[in-house]
Amino acid sequence: MSIETKDVLRLATIGSVDDGKSTLIGRLLVDTRQLFDDQLDAVAEASERRGVGDLDLSFVTDGLRAEREQGITIDVAYRYAATPTRKFIIADCPGHVQYTRNMATGASTADLALAVVDVATGLKEQTRRHLCIAALLGVRNLVVAVNKMDRVEWSEAAFLAVGDQIAAVSNELGFASCEVIPVSALLGDNVVDRSGASPWYRGRSVLEALEATHASDPSTTAQGARLPIQWVLRQNGGGRTYAGMVNGGTFHVGDKVTLLPAGIETTISALRLGGANRVDAYAGLSADIDLVAETDAGRGDMIASEPLPTVTKEFDATICWFGEKPMTPGQRFRLKHASRSTPARIVQLDGLVDIEHLSVGSNDQLTVNEIGLAKIACADSLVVDEYQVNRATGSFVLIDEVTNATVAAGMIGGPSFL
C-alpha cells in the first residue's frame, strides 16, 4: 500500500497588513515545492502585469480580483502543504479590522497561530488585537516569524527587542507555547531551512517549528468525550445508530455514557467509522454509535462521558459581534450550538472587552468587530461545556432571524486572560 499515515495540523496566519503574512505563506509553499509550475508562472505573470516586481509571493494566496487590485487580503485563503508525516491546512487570514470576522473564521479551527511581525516596526496594535482574538478563540500554540530581518542587516539586537515585546504579550494572553524566529520571507531565510545569515540564532526554522508542534490541543484531551447527535441511522431490523463528530476526548466500545439532556445512563455497544467497526473513536472522527439502551434520542441530543457537560437554558458568554447594526440587550436571535438550534435572547451586556489593556469596561451596546461579555437566555435546553474546556460544545453562533446572516460568534464563559 502506498498510503502514508499523516496527522493534520490546522494553522492560521495572523499579523498586521504589510508585515508580510501572505509573502511568508507563499515562500513556505514555494520552498516546500507545494506549488505547481503553472501556478508559479501565473503568479509571475500577475506580478509583472501589476508592476510589483518579478514574483510577488503574496499573489499566491491573494486570489480575488479586488485583493490584487488593492494589495490587501480581504478573506481567508486556504492552502495545503504536506510533509511525510503531516498534512498542513493553512488559513491565511486578512489583517484589516473590518475583516475581523474573516480572521476569526480562519482562527476558530486552528491548532496553532503563525504570527508575522515586521522587525522594523515591532508589534503593531493590529497584531496584538489578532493575538488576543486567537487566544480568545482557544489557539494555544504560537509561532512568531520576525520578518524583514534583511532590512535591518540581521541585527540580533533588533530581533531580541521585538522578541521581548512578543514574549510579554504571549505571557499576558496565556499561550502554552511561543517560539520566535528571525526570518526574511522575501529571501527565504529560516523559512524552510536554517539560514547562514543569522549565525547567532540557534533555534528552528518556521517549517521545523510547525512540524514539531503537537497537532491536537493537549489541554482538552483529558476531558470528557462528546458526540452531538447529527443524524439517526435506522438499521435494517430496527436498531438505531447515532451519528455525529466526536470531540473532547475518546470514546471506546464498552464506555459508560450519558445521553443528554434526558440524563439516560447507558453503554456504547458498537462504534463504526464510515461503516467499518472500531474499538475507539477520537476527537475529529465522525462516529456511528450504538447504545445498549433503547432510546428515542435524536438530532440535538448529546452522548457524553464523564466529566459530564452542563444542561442549561442560560449562561454567560463572550461575544464577538459581526453585525452591521449594534447588539443591545433584549434582542432576539436564532442560536446554533453543536447540532441544536434554539431561539435566544441577550439578557444583559456585562461589559466590553478592551483588547489594548486586556480589561473590561462598561457599555450598553456592541458595535461591529467589538468583543463583549453577555448573559444569554435560550428557549430550549442546551448541553454545554466552557469554551476553555471544549471548543465544540462551548461555542455557538447567533443568526439574524430575518436575513439569516451570522451576526456573532459566542464562547461560553469568559476569556482566559481576564
Binding site: F36, A42, Y78, L273, G274, A276, D280, I399
Partner: protein, 304 residues
C-alpha cells in the same frame, strides 16, 4: 481488512469524517438538497461519502448531472453505473435544452459550453426548488476556490459575493436561507488532488476508464492533447497521433486535455500525482485559461 482500532491519527480518516459531518449537517438543516454529480473523480468521491453518511438508508437527496451534451461516453456510462450502484435518484439538467429554449446562445459545435452550464444549473435549482447543492470542488484547485466557505451562500440571482461571505466559525455550519436563495456546500474543500487519489485507492472505488492510461488518437492543440472523436475533429494542419494517455480531470470532451501517462492502476496514479509538476487544471483545462480571474468571474455568475 480487519476491523482494528487505531488511535493514531490518519489524514484520510480526518478528511472523510469532516466530509461526512458536512453532508449530514446540510441534509439535516436544509429542506431540499441535491448533490451535483459530473462523473468526475471528485464528485465520485462525494457520492461515495454521501452513501456512507446515510447507510444503510437511501440517500436523502437526489443527484443531478448538468449535461453539456459534450461529455466523454465513458463518463456517461460511469454516471449511470454510479447512480444505480449507490441507489441514487438521477436528475439530468441539459444544456442542450437551455439552448433549444433560447435561454442561452448556441456556441456552435466546436464552441465551449462550459460557461453556459451556470444558466442550466441555476434554472434546475429554481425549477426543483433546491435550497442546497453539494459540489465536489476543492480549495486547492484554484485561487478563487481557495477563498470560498464550505457552506457558500448564493443570493436569489445565484450570485456569489466573495467580498461579503458569511462568517463560518468552528464546525458550526449555518445553512439557513430565505426562499429563492440557496447554498453551495463543499464537503471536499480541504482535500487535495493527492488526498482524493489516496482515498479512491484506499476505498477501492471504481472510476470512469479514461482516468487510467490507455491508447487513444489525439491531436495537439492549444498546448494540450485532445482526444479525437465526435467533439474534436482534426484540422487539416493537425496530425493525428496514437499516444498512451490518461485524463487528470474530466470536463467537456472538446476542452479537456489528456496527459501522457503510463499510470494504469490506482497505485500508479497516486505515485504520478505525488510528483506532478503541473496542476491538474493547468495541465488539462482550456476553460480556466481565459483570464487571471476566470474562475472567480464564473463563480460570481453561479458556476459550480
Amino acid at each position: 481488512m480487519a476491523s482494528l482500532s487505531t488511535t493514531q491519527t490518519n489524514h484520510l480518516d480526518i478528511l472523510e469524517s469532516h466530509a461526512l459531518f458536512i453532508l449530514r449537517e446540510v441534509a439535516a438543516e436544509c429542506e431540499r438538497p441535491v448533490l451535483l454529480f459530473s462523473g468526475g473523480k471528485d464528485s465520485a468521491v462525494l457520492l461515495h461519502l454521501a452513501a456512507k453518511a446515510f447507510a444503510p438508508q437511501q440517500l436523502p437527496f437526489p443527484i443531478m448531472h448538468v449535461d453539456t451534451g459534450q461529455n466523454f461516453d465513458e463518463v456517461l456510462a460511469y454516471r449511470d453505473w454510479a447512480a444505480e450502484h449507490y441507489g441514487a435518484r438521477l436528475i439530468i439538467a441539459s444544456v442542450q435544452r437551455s439552448i433549444d429554449q433560447g435561454r442561452v446562445a448556441d456556441p456552435g459545435p466546436m464552441g465551449s459550453r462550459n460557461r453556459l452550464q451556470s444558466v442550466t444549473l441555476l434554472d434546475a435549482i429554481t425549477d426543483n426548488k433546491f435550497d442546497a447543492a453539494f459540489g465536489g470542488a476543492r480549495r486547492d484547485e484554484d485561487k478563487a476556490r481557495a477563498k470560498e466557505r464550505i457552506l457558500s451562500f448564493r443570493d436569489s440571482f445565484g450570485q456569489w459575493d466573495p467580498k461579503a461571505q458569511r462568517p463560518e466559525l468552528w464546525n458550526l455550519y449555518q445553512g439557513r436561507v430565505n426562499p429563492g436563495e440557496h447554498l453551495r456546500a463543499f464537503p471536499l474543500s480541504d482535500w487535495t488532488e493527492l488526498d482524493i487519489w489516496q482515498y479512491i485507492e484506499r476505498e477501492e472505488m471504481k472510476l470512469p476508464t479514461i482516468y487510467f492510461a490507455h491508447e487513444r488518437e489525439v491531436v495537439f492543440r492549444d498546448g494540450m492533447w485532445l482526444a479525437v472523436g465526435r467533439f474534436v475533429e482534426p484540422q487539416p494542419s493537425e496530425s493525428v497521433e496514437a499516444k498512451t494517455v490518461r485524463f487528470r480531470t474530466v470536463g467537456d470532451a472538446n476542452c479537456t486535455g489528456a496527459v501522457l501517462s503510463n499510470a494504469a492502476t490506482l497505485a500508479e496514479i497516486v505515485t504520478e500525482v505525488s510528483v506532478a509538476n503541473v496542476s491538474e487544471r493547468g495541465a488539462t483545462r482550456a476553460d480556466d485559461k481565459f483570464s487571471e480571474t476566470a474562475m472567480e468571474d464564473r463563480k460570481r455568475e453561479g458556476y459550480f
